[in-house]
Symmetry: C2
């Protein structure tokens, strides 16, 4: 529907003039997204302060068939939070629903609103002597509602699960404006269909999550972080199995990095240096959390590394001697994606394959990419313990950036075909949004797509929730 002046005024009246943004200047930050790929337009950003205002907005949207694009911290990488180019879609920012309603350390629960910034929740949990484990590069600005809507992953999935597994219950405003209060605070509840998990990961296409019950965990009593040099992903896989066997659920991070990624991070990130003297083909960041003590964490790491050295899996390794050093090891890994930027154009993928197939996948995908683009610099790094790689490709040295980026679709098709042959996922943690919608429609099982469409239609018959995303 077109957005008439009269209709705009009706929406504005719900939140009040001060929280309805209409000038290009005010609106701009809501349209600029991390990858500069999605050029959306809007003439209205609404910033409601509570669930009742969200409800009124969606009710009016459904009545008038006005498209609504929910937005959290605007850190999504697939354009799910960005309106289309028509200018008729309204952006619904959840950032003012930013209350932590309660923290219950005894019950290991926090009830938080959608607009709470992830880092604020981490800090509030820590102040209560607890851990909220979700951890992402964008944690300083992404919001819990966005984490839920995209089922965010991050570095702690290995031990604690995706955002879905961290959530016990949700409050959701349906397209009709009805408010589903499903803020359950119990871990076991078999009373009907699992509605919560339908809204989680739906990227705002079925309703708007306004609050959620999130799980808290005991704070580890000690951490241990090692930075390991090794010769191949095969060796990394064996090291992973060894680490899991020694540490069980105490293994809280296992990140794989290639030499070129370390070089990029060191070259382009202030304060990052390679802690090992000699270069190695591959690196693993090993993170252990102990429920007992720092000594215990260190002993576990030493036991893993001793066995790994004896088995010839590892060429060199160093264990962080301080919290500052732990952070600097992690900083190396976290800076890796960003450090590709000064190297020219990048074609990026967020894939997963079964963990044990990671080495084969890397071999096969690397060969395919280099066949297509000789000289391409492949920076495949990420959450190996979860089978999830950011399979990113930097342009060849000296190549034309635009000419390289123009081959995105071609390269991605090859990489994703290999992912599918390995029974993997073409979007492990970032979601579908706009970026992969077309590809999903072409490659996902028609039966699954049909079920998704049936759900979409029965929940949102007017089609107002984030149209043009996911399905």
């Amino acid at each position: 529907m077109t957005l008439t002046q009269n209709l705009i005024e009706r929406f504005v009246a719900i939140v009040g003039e001060a929280y309805a943004l209409r000038s290009a200047n005010d609106i701009e930050p809501y349209l600029i997204e991390p990858r500069d790929k999605f050029g959306g337009k809007t003439s209205l950003v609404l910033r409601p302060s509570n669930v009742d205002e969200v409800s009124a907005i969606l009710k009016l949207a459904t009545e008038t068939e006005t498209a609504i694009v929910p937005q959290g911290g605007n850190t999504g990488l697939v354009g799910g939070q960005i309106p289309d180019g028509s200018g008729t879609q309204i952006v619904l920012s959840l950032s003012r629903l930013n209350k932590i309603r309660s923290i219950d350390p005894a019950g290991n629960l926090a009830i938080v609103e959608a607009g709470v910034v992830l880092q604020k929740l981490q800090e509030a949990a820590a102040q209560a002597g607890k851990l909220f484990p979700l951890s992402l590069g964008s944690e300083g600005s992404c919001q819990v509602g966005g984490n839920l809507s995209s089922n965010a992953g991050g570095t702690a999935v290995l031990a604690y699960g995706n955002t879905r597994e961290l959530c016990l219950g949700v409050e959701v405003v349906l397209p009709t404006g009805e408010i589903l209060n499903d803020l359950r605070t119990v871990k076991k509840d078999n009373t009907g269909y699992d509605l919560k998990d339908l809204f989680i990961g739906a990227e705002g296409t079925l309703g708007v999550i306004t609050a959620a019950v999130m799980k808290l965990f005991p704070l580890p009593k000690g951490k241990g972080v090692a930075y390991v040099g090794l010769s191949s992903p095969d060796n990394a896989l064996q090291l992973l199995n060894m680490a899991q066997s020694h540490a069980g659920a105490s293994l809280t991070g296992f990140e794989l990095m290639p030499r070129i990624g370390v070089e990029f991070s060191v070259a382009h990130t202030e304060g990052v240096r390679d802690p090992l003297q000699e270069p190695h083909n591959w690196y693993v960041l090993l993170d252990i959390s102990s429920s007992r003590s720092a000594e215990d964490a260190r002993e576990t790491i030493e036991a893993i590394l001793t066995e790994a050295f004896e088995a010839g899996l590892v060429d060199d390794a160093t264990i962080a001697e301080s919290t500052a050093q732990e952070k600097s090891f992690w900083h190396m890994r976290e800076a890796m994606s960003h450090a590709q930027k000064p190297e020219g154009g990048s074609i990026k993928h967020d894939i997963s394959v079964p963990v044990a197939r990671i080495p084969d996948f890397i071999k096969e995908a690397d060969q395919a990419v280099l066949d297509l683009i000789p000289g391409a610099r492949i920076v495949s790094f990420g959450h190996m313990g979860d089978g999830n790689l950011h399979y990113n490709i930097s342009q060849p040295v000296g190549a034309d950036k635009q000419a390289f980026l123009d081959r995105w679709a071609e390269v991605t098709k090859r990489v994703h075909d290999i992912v599918r042959a390995y029974n993997g996922s073409i979007s492990a943690e970032h979601g579908i949004g706009q970026l992969k919608r077309q590809e999903l429609s072409e490659t996902k099982s028609p039966i699954a797509l049909d079920l998704m469409r049936r759900i979409k239609k029965s929940f949102d018959p007017a089609g107002v929730m984030n149209p043009g995303k996911v399905i």
Copy 2:
């Protein structure tokens, strides 16, 4: 629809005469269920051997509007697997779909068909050097498909989660006969709505799960089991927090038991004895799994108990000295429900409340029950670490059994009202089935029920999947 002879023949032709049961004798075992509460009838039990036969059955069912009741090991406690009394519903037994399609120890995965008995999967995992942690009293006969359809819980939820959390992907036959192949083998996959979790826990009302990808875990290198006597659920709660703080994810069981439950188990179960010399008001079974060694597990248990004794939380405790003794401690707990039978009538509940509210809940519910039925013997035991109690009530000594059982609805209403006041669940792990369908329709949020009905209608417009269950 009525089941004409002609229609019966068409269904029989799909599986063959040998696997279509029509005589009362052959059918009887499929109608007798654990609680003798649901007197269903059928004139046909179908035993297909593969997914294509299941598909043909459902296709014909939808075409002819014939009701289908899927059944696994027939161990469900809420009548979800039992047809109604009309005789027109066909029982679809999944027991011949009993292949373990693959076990992948390196990938920590097993792909199994719905009819695999849980214990077979546990054994196959162990043979591959892995743990499949789901563990229930009925594990010798319940089937994985039933575990999934009811999102079964059990004793290992504390560390490993419900069945839902143990499953990566499913193969489902839809009411139309279409086969949804969603047998994904990756942990991270954000490509569209979470269909898997909609089928899990739907109790066969949306489709028939025919196979699933289940997660495997490293086998613990050592176990430690302690049997602890203490004075109150309050002390048990403090002990739980202490145990979680020491053991973290190594705490693999924390079961609460009242004195009367221990007395019943000892009195009525061969081989069960109370390992402590003096009687105590309450008991906790503490189960620790170490990824290092048996000594390590023992050290953890000793550290927990030492701190608990010093804090005055625990009156007495003993640690199992052998695997046989560990089993005998667990046997005490597992025998508890069954041991109520010789004591007369029982009114049983499967509730959960937030963990930290368990002591208050017990106080309030006990008072309410005793107000209603003075002399009632309350056997409230179960998975305290998950907030889940089997809040069972044995009749007063010498009371009339039927007169006691006739008060089931009245007692349950009081207990469930208190559960709801604590923001808990009236079915923590057993599901809704027939038993709690009416209550669900009266007490669940109308908005949630409406969403469930929309899903049901869009997935199963002919209404053939397990009608009369859940919604």
